[in-house]
Amino acid sequence: MTTKLFGEPVRRREDARLITGRGRYLDDIGSDALAAAFVRSPHAHARVVDVDVDAALDVEGLVAVYTYEDLPGPLAEPLPVLIPHPQLHAPRTGYPLANGEVNHVGEPVVMVVATDRYVAEDAAERIVVTYEELPVVVGVDAAREAVHAVHADVPDNVAARHHQETGDADAALAASPHTLSFTQYIERSACMPMEGKGVHARWDAGDRSLRVHTSTQASTSVRAAIAAKLQLSLDQVEVVAPDVGGGFGVKIVHPWPEELLVPMAAIALGREVKWAEDRREHFISSAHERQQRQEITVGYDDDGRVTALDVHVWHDNGAYTPYGIIVPIVTATQLVGPYVIPVYRVIVESVYTNTVIVTPYRGAGRPQGCFAMERTMDRIADALGLDRAVVRERNLIRPEQFPYDHRLTFQDGRPVIYDSGDYPGLLDKLRALVGWESAEELRADAEARGKLLGVGMALYVEGTGPGPYEGGHVQVLGSGKVLVSTGLTSQGQGHETVFAQIVASELGVPIEDVEVTTGDTRRFGYAVGTFASRAAVMSGNAVALAARGVREKALRIAADVLEADPGDLEIDEGVVSVRGTPGAAIPLRTVAVLSNPLRYAFDEAAKQATQFARSASDDKPPVAPGDAPGLEHRDYYSPIRSTFASGAHAAVVEIDPATWEIDVVKYAVVHDCGNVVNPMIVEGQVHGGVAQGVGGALYERMAYDADGQLQNASFMDFLMPYASEVPDVVIDHQETPSPLNPLGIKGAGEAGVIPGTAAIASAIEDATGRRIAAMPISPTQLYDLVRDGSSETTAAWRRRTGVDA
């Protein structure tokens, strides 16, 4: 039985090409294309006084040089503010090429086009740009102090002040039996996909059409942006996302300057032009995320139940705000996690700095929110002398409280109403999985080996699958092949497999007959994009609905041919048959042929559908009113609001008190993403997310100096985890289906990364007794913290070691 595949660990259909070198990534396209290279700002903040290209003009193989002055029409205007918001009161975006000012190292100033990339870089390095340096703002604290301004017309550096509250926080805090206030920091990391960005454009001067390949998470919207900025009609532009070597968020931003400039040059030059980002470019001109300063005040009762929560976050949005305040909103609204927070007030001030822009990176503000909430739970437990799991348990939303309304507004403008979940169930499974109750025995055992051991946990709720919509198209061909398309894109998540499983299951066809296309505007023009763990929820349900439409039509046509009631028919292995009547059957491929009444027979199959071959009623039209030829259906899924996945992670760390090396010796994950389409793929997503979570907690940071120079802009210096840094992960599952969508699924893509920083910080704190209020943390930083006599210690540690406060 191959057709009931929903829920099975089906091996990936993408892999056959990817393991044999037949994948087609951006830089594999256009072997004869001209190559673009960029002159980028070496300064974090400067006026561009002069651009002298003369020395480049002699380079043999140079084709064209573009500066801001060469940008026509709307290209000379600022890049779009993609997601405007009323609380984003001072949005600023850059230009495709710098217009007189640069605001971060890496901002593009000149584009060079040449016969190949080597030559383009030769020419680029001969271009002399004269700058007048301006004062530089780096980090949230400097932005907040506002001694200097990133943008002269935004003197306080505040781009947005996002504010939500669910009651009178001041009164609730005043009435609380206990309160705690503290400040903590989380640092910058970045998506860092193995393949950087890239764009290839080909202009057909004959029919005036543009085909753009780009390593993007949002091909339909890139298409719209190119059409708008290059003043083309939408029908002149097609955009295709080829195989994409990882995204994790950075490729949802669009249009990147290069996505406009490369097509511009292709049209101007009448030649194919390509740009493939190199690693240093990716570090200094793509996007980062995560830096925040969090000031938290919590009120709670004697049992550790939260009575009020007041959070003030300063969020570093980098030099510009093209992606609006999505990350601040997500932090603000997802911070509350799986807990009942009677009164909640959050203010996120999103501030400009002279650094690379900040846009969503897997988790998209959630890791920071989780860090705030979960560390608050740890502090309450510490203050009351309670078990950290017990305090969490007392604050959890109970299963009978769903749907649970947090009275907040989510990033999609919709209310934060949790659709379903079983958070106590998660916590129970986590405790069992990690051995929470035997932590003290583990600690004693480690101590005997000369190691400091600690355990920590963190829970999260993740809004996944936000709208507005995705669509799906399913078509059965006369060959029996089933074509499936959806507009959103793939970056390695296995969409071809998952969507094929869904369609094969819905339609009753062998998965081998199903072919899936994603992210190609030639096949599906309406889409939103791949982000916010939404692909399986949105396009999964859309292709399911489309498949159901095809099934309904197939049964109608087959019922006519088989002279049966459609309700008595079933489809299995691509054959429609009358239930319980052997022999009364018709292959789906024949139904597809018959669905399209023909005058002309171009092959044997088509003969069956021609006008004299089919017996049809003389008083009905060949295509009934409201019907359409072909066995195909297009449908859309548009949810009323997001569906909320959840999970709980725990980390066990061992620290060597000689080197202060931090070793995550066990990492436990319990996750709940509703009904699972493919458990193998979901586990893969969890594994990858955890690795990024561990990287963000212990290794990765963007090391900007005070001049705004990124000091570690290479894989030599930016410590992305190798296999040696990633712990073994043990996973347990819980499935609480979503009542919101037909398939009952919730997103799974980002979950793995969200609680890592919080859980590991908690474990280090438990091991060392030193308050961990800034992450990531390196062995050196931990050593300094332990050595510093003024470091805050935990009450739990003082009780354990008998040290007086």
Binding site: R22, R279, M720
Partner: protein, 172 residues
Amino acid sequence: MTVPVDTERTITITVNGVPRRATVPVRRLLSDALRHDLGLTGTHVGCEHGVCGACTVVVDGAAVRSCLVLAVQADGAAVETVEGLAREDSGGGQVLHPVQEAFRECHALQCGFCTPGFLMTITAGLEARDPSAELTEEEVDELVGGNLCRCTGYANIRKAVHDAAAAMRDGA
């Protein structure tokens, strides 16, 4: 002033068993020569400074980062790339290398960009060892420890190495 054109050399590299000639600028990286001059785009470039390992190919039996080798240095060498891993069977079909088979079976890849480098590194390592010997965790650490993957968290890659070694032992 005219900037001088690069000096070019004509080189011969035996790629996946087939002698290939190309005239390349002397500064051309082997990775670029394979991809652009010979059209073998299965070898990927992830960092161009020898850290990520995505560009790994096998040169005269040893796993090498092709972004750190000039094409002219490979003149006369035998180079194996990911395109040469699978073999054709007598019926014209394709027989995957045990490492490729294990990667697919174990879900050891997601976006696939780093995969060719892992496949070549692991294949060179496993083929250089006695297949009848039990594969230790330390050997796995050594085999996968120098390549970066941003998608998988490595767990399934490690599993694939074990599976591939077992298959090579059984097939040896």
